[in-house]
């Protein structure tokens, strides 16, 4: 002899789930099917990436420390690394990349604008060179496909994203080569510019400070490829060319110093050329994409099921709320199959 819970029971979740099971099931299945279809038909995205490390040695060279100060600040080094990588993705390279893989219309005959675009142009006067604007826009879109991510302070992952795996792989390889070229060239250019500056100064010391030579007198130019002559011979030659004794002594000292630096620079250049891998390490080369990164079918299915269940659940809650709010005896009789015998009128007031 037991009675039901004498207190009003809290909403029975399991009973409600059982009551609305058809709606929940239908909603979940429908949403899952839609998510599956979306996973099949949404435009796919493929990604190919490479990882490289730019060591701190890139910014140092003991041979030329005296006149090219190294960078020690880690923040500055990090910024410079990223700047060098992004520097590789200049407009010229982007145009070339777009042309090669058909990603932009750069360099080709532009397609005539449609009627709608002509109308838009008329409505928006003063837009300037439409072709340049379009090119700029295309470059920007192409640049968005290239993603530079910092893995740690000296390591970067550079990726290329496209809807076709073949294009993705080829473009990633092009970006990879361009970045490497730029890194190597930037370091070499610093050394080369310093060398050229020193060379120019040395030439000016050799001939600039002296009186104008007589016609036909050979001005000795010191070439880098020639062996270093004995100073005395050089001085004698200079004296013979009309150099004054005071100038010679001061300039000789400077010339000597510059020559030493020039030799160090040349050694540094040769060393860089031979051991480029010493300051750049490629940890991962671009690979052909194995599969799309988007859409992920498994994730879509899970989202679809969850969204369907939650959506159907909300719908059931609304229906339940509406039922409870608007339930009357006649509806209850219809739903339960219990006949409605009649209704009582309101008891007259006193």
């Amino acid at each position: 002899m037991s009675r039901m819970n004498p207190e009003p029971a809290p909403p029975d979740v399991f009973r409600l789930l059982e009551k609305h099971r058809r709606v929940l099931l239908a909603g979940t299945l429908l949403s899952t099917a839609l998510a599956f279809a979306a996973g099949q038909f949404l435009p796919k995205k493929y990604k190919s990436s490479f990882v490289l490390t730019v060591h701190s040695r890139y910014f140092e060279n003991p041979l030329i420390r005296d006149f090219l100060a190294p960078v020690h600040d880690s923040t500055e080094m990090r910024s410079q690394r990223e700047a060098l990588i992004r520097q590789a993705l200049d407009a010229e390279f982007l145009d070339e990349l777009g042309r090669r893989h058909g990603l932009t219309s750069a360099g080709g005959a532009a397609a005539p604008p449609g009627a709608l675009r002509r109308l838009v142009r008329r409505l928006k006067p003063g837009r300037g060179d439409a072709a340049a604007a379009r090119l700029s826009r295309e470059r920007e879109l192409l640049l968005r496909r290239i993603d530079v991510q910092r893995v740690n302070p000296d390591t970067f992952r550079i990726s290329f994203v496209h809807s076709e795996p073949g294009v993705t792989f080829a473009a990633a390889q092009d970006v990879y080569l361009q970045v490497l070229r730029t890194l190597v060239a930037s370091r070499r250019d610093i050394l080369v510019h310093a060398r050229d500056a020193i060379e120019t100064r040395m030439r000016s010391l050799g001939g600039g400070s002296a009186p104008a030579p007589a016609a036909g007198a050979a001005v000795q130019r010191w070439r880098l490829s020639e062996p270093l002559e004995d100073w005395s011979t050089a001085l004698a030659r200079g004296a013979g060319a009309g150099w004054g004794q005071e100038q010679t002594a001061a300039e000789m000292g400077l010339y000597k110093d510059l020559l030493v630096k020039l030799n160090y620079l040349q050694v540094a250049l040769d060393s860089d050329k031979a051991f480029q891998g010493a300051y750049i390490a490629v940890l991962e080369k671009p690979l052909y994409p194995a599969g799309p990164i988007w859409p992920k079918r498994g994730l879509f299915l899970v989202w679809g099921m969850a969204a369907g269940f939650i959506g159907a659940g909300l719908l059931c809650c609304l229906r339940e709320y509406e039922e409870r709010g608007t339930l009357d005896a006649a509806t209850l009789s219809r739903r339960t199959g219990i006949p409605l015998l009649g209704s009582l009128p309101a008891l007259p007031e006193r």
Partner: protein, 222 residues
């Protein structure tokens, strides 16, 4: 009404209101439907159930008893098995003041006088009794209420406890419904909004309960 039971002072206004109430066609129609069901498959006792308190069980019992007594011209017995009273609860005694053919007894009281003796001098007052000790639980009270009352009552109406809440030693309405030959469920606004409605309906799907149907009492705003 059995004058032997000690009741609160009758509310004359309530009796007048009930007089007006039973003139409504809906009430007569309802009584006719129940009478028709009784003829189809006879039952002696009818349990009046509701999910929540204040749905109108007592009102239905009183009105049904009055109309039944008038139309079927047979004595009616109302057993008040509902122990819980709220300030809004109707007093059966007050409702049935002018109904000589309707007898009312509360569970725990002694048996009412036989209706055959009603035409004679009014029976002597019977001192109210306390609830007997539950020897076999609620079954003893139910048997006493339904099987042991003498008299050829046309119908025995049992005003029960609400299905939700209760306890405190009062008679279980589900057991009353099982013991009675039939039951009706009064549904008011409170019941229709009650979270326990479905659970209560599930209880009433008991094969031992013959649920005749629902009686709507939505106009009464409690």
């Amino acid at each position: 009404m059995n004058p032997a039971v000690e009741t609160p002072p009758p509310d004359a206004g309530l009796a007048d209101r009930l007089d007006d109430f039973i003139r409504y066609a809906e009430v007569k129609r309802l009584a006719g439907a129940i009478a028709s069901l009784q003829r189809r498959k006879p039952f002696r006792a009818l349990a009046v159930l509701s999910v929540e308190a204040g749905d109108g069980k007592t009102l239905l019992c009183a009105a049904l008893a009055r109309v039944y007594a008038q139309t079927c011209r047979s004595p009616i017995l109302i057993i008040d098995a509902g122990g819980r009273r709220t300030p809004q609860s109707l007093e059966l005694a007050a409702c049935l003041e002018r109904s000589p053919a309707v007898y009312c007894v509360r569970v725990g009281d002694g048996p009412p006088p036989s209706p055959a003796a009603a035409g004679d001098a009014p029976p002597a007052a019977v001192a109210p009794q306390t609830l007997p000790e539950l020897q076999d639980g609620d079954s003893a009270l139910i048997r006493q209420a339904l099987g042991e009352f003498p008299g050829p009552y046309g119908l025995i109406l049992i005003d029960t406890e609400p299905l939700v809440g209760g306890g405190n030693g009062n008679v279980d309405p589900v057991l009353v419904a099982r013991a009675a030959g039939a039951a009706v469920l009064v549904v008011g606004r409170r019941s229709l909004k009650s979270a326990a409605l479905e659970g209560s309906l599930e209880l009433l799907r008991d094969p031992g309960i013959r649920l005749l149907g629902l009686v709507a009492n939505e106009r009464h705003g409690r």
